[in-house]
Symmetry: C2
Subunit: 315 residues, 2 copies
């Protein structure tokens, strides 16, 4: 298995001409093109992509930082990214971080080392400043509200989404509204806190449950909810999986939904339809696709994707 020079020798042309043929460039005579193709065939030539990456200074590969690949929330975004990447002929290097900063940094370094042309951060633990330090090394897109930053972003307006969900519940006569978040000190948590304050005044909500990501978390939180003496009459839940766990555990404990507690999830994952769970639909796949388009674009942009409240039977 030879290289480009072996082919050149065999075909009686220069390496430059071989390169032209291999990349379908014009200005190569029919005879030489033919000779090169035959020589390549004969030598079972295969391009060494690493040499191409070195010579061209780019890899047509985008890195993706995300905490968990097995959770559908992240999976859906990743899927949107993957679909767009495929269309553009790009590869995807993924980094499952478990929200571990060390691993996030390792992923950022791929950008510095030119292993990837750009980076999409689906969710992160490390401070934004750290990421900004790498902005000179390549394009970076974050999946969170970042208006004004020098990094591109695509996001759901968490504040508005939560706000309008709160309004909806209030209209339904709910006054004691609790909610869950993934991380106590996250972007999304702050947005929720603010929206809550805006609706209910300065006193912070005292029915906030954190560490809510999976079905089990929902089950656990339902137990906590049930044990409260001043139970909230409704809960806005991180995502449909947590909501599913919550809903099913409540039922198991003998409570009725929405009789004893109203529930609203997020994402509109198919499980929510099956459970007749009201939810806020988020176009996660589309969000991923947009993120990918942004990472290829030379200009910084901030794009908001819409959300939509889907009413079912849990309120």
């Amino acid at each position: 298995m030879g290289n480009i020079h072996d082919i050149a020798r065999l075909a009686g042309v220069s390496a430059a001409t071989v390169s032209r043929v291999m990349n379908d460039y014009p200005y190569v005579s029919k005879e030489k093109r033919q000779a090169v193709l035959e020589a390549a065939e004969q030598l079972h030539y295969e391009k060494n992509i690493n040499a191409v990456h070195l010579a061209r200074g780019k890899t047509e590969t985008i890195g993706v930082i995300l905490p968990f690949v097995s959770h559908p929330y992240f999976g859906m975004i990743l899927s949107g990214i993957a679909e767009a990447a495929e269309k553009r002929g790009y590869k995807l290097l993924i980094m499952q971080t478990n929200y571990n900063v060390i691993q996030e940094i390792e992923a950022l370094n791929m950008l510095k080392l030119k292993q990837v042309d750009g980076l999409i951060v689906i969710s992160r633990e490390c401070p934004l400043e750290l990421i900004e330090d790498y902005s000179g090394c390549g394009r970076i897109v974050l999946c969170e509200a970042l208006a004004g930053s020098s990094l591109s972003s695509v996001f759901v307006n968490q504040y508005e989404a939560f706000q309008s969900t709160l309004s909806f519940l209030k209209e339904k006569g709910k006054t004691r509204i609790g909610y869950s978040v993934l991380r106590k000190e996250g972007k999304s948590s702050n947005a929720r806190k603010k929206a809550y304050e805006q609706q209910f005044g300065k006193a912070p909500c005292h029915w906030v449950f954190d560490q809510a990501l999976t079905v089990e978390d929902g089950t656990r939180i339902a137990g906590k909810w049930a044990a409260l003496s001043d139970r909230p009459d409704s809960m806005i839940i991180t995502n449909d999986f947590v909501a599913a766990g919550f809903l099913l555990e409540c039922r198991r404990l003998g409570f009725s939904i929405p009789g004893d507690v109203s529930l609203i999830g997020f994402d509109n994952h198919p499980i929510s339809a099956a459970l007749s769970l009201s939810t806020v639909e988020l176009p996660l796949q589309q969000l991923g696709t947009i993120a990918f388009e942004q990472v290829l674009s030379s200009k910084v942009s901030h794009k908001e994707v819409p959300f939509q409240l889907i009413e079912r039977g849990s309120v």
Copy 2:
């Protein structure tokens, strides 16, 4: 930002010595090591990883072929792979194929082009022979029973798992057992067909539902089940998501589980616990981890991971 030669010049040493320092090789004097590090600092040196890949002839990257990243079944396996990869300092290049052969081939070509050192095929559409053609280009591991092949494999014994689930249902007095599969002509489908024949004789099961992967599929199949005049008294379902859709739709239609139909899912995803759904636990994450160990190993192996029936309230 210079390269290794600039550093060599500035530090008054050779490029070889710089390389030695950068890779923590021994046999470099304290003074020169110091001088190199200072020069590197001064020039803001960053290794060009593509040059390393070219020079070393490998990339410390493993490719992963899977049809859908957003489904937890594949996500869990991927997560196990990712965890193992992280421990060994490897990167992961993923290829979401949608079971599209063209894309599977594209992924296989990454091996040929030396873009990845090995390949893990979580699930595939293309014929095995096609994959075997690439075995000379690097290590390949498939997540399916492949005893005797020249490619490594890690798998759940689908035949036995299905067989013992059938036995279990029979012991419970079930005689009309239906089941669902993802693809009509898949490895797993054949194993199920065989196990069924073994239990019930040559006549093929006439309650087989295919295209069963998601919650919606479960909902759809429940509808079909309900519309049958000769409904089976129990169903073994592809995975817990499909089972969840099936179970919830049955309830919605006024049937009771297990009164009207017994249900057994696969995977033991948390949703099954929340639904009190009996299921066959599969150690998917572990399977992924093993696949990764195999792809790094120089010898071909075939490893079976255990399954375990978890009894809950759906039988």
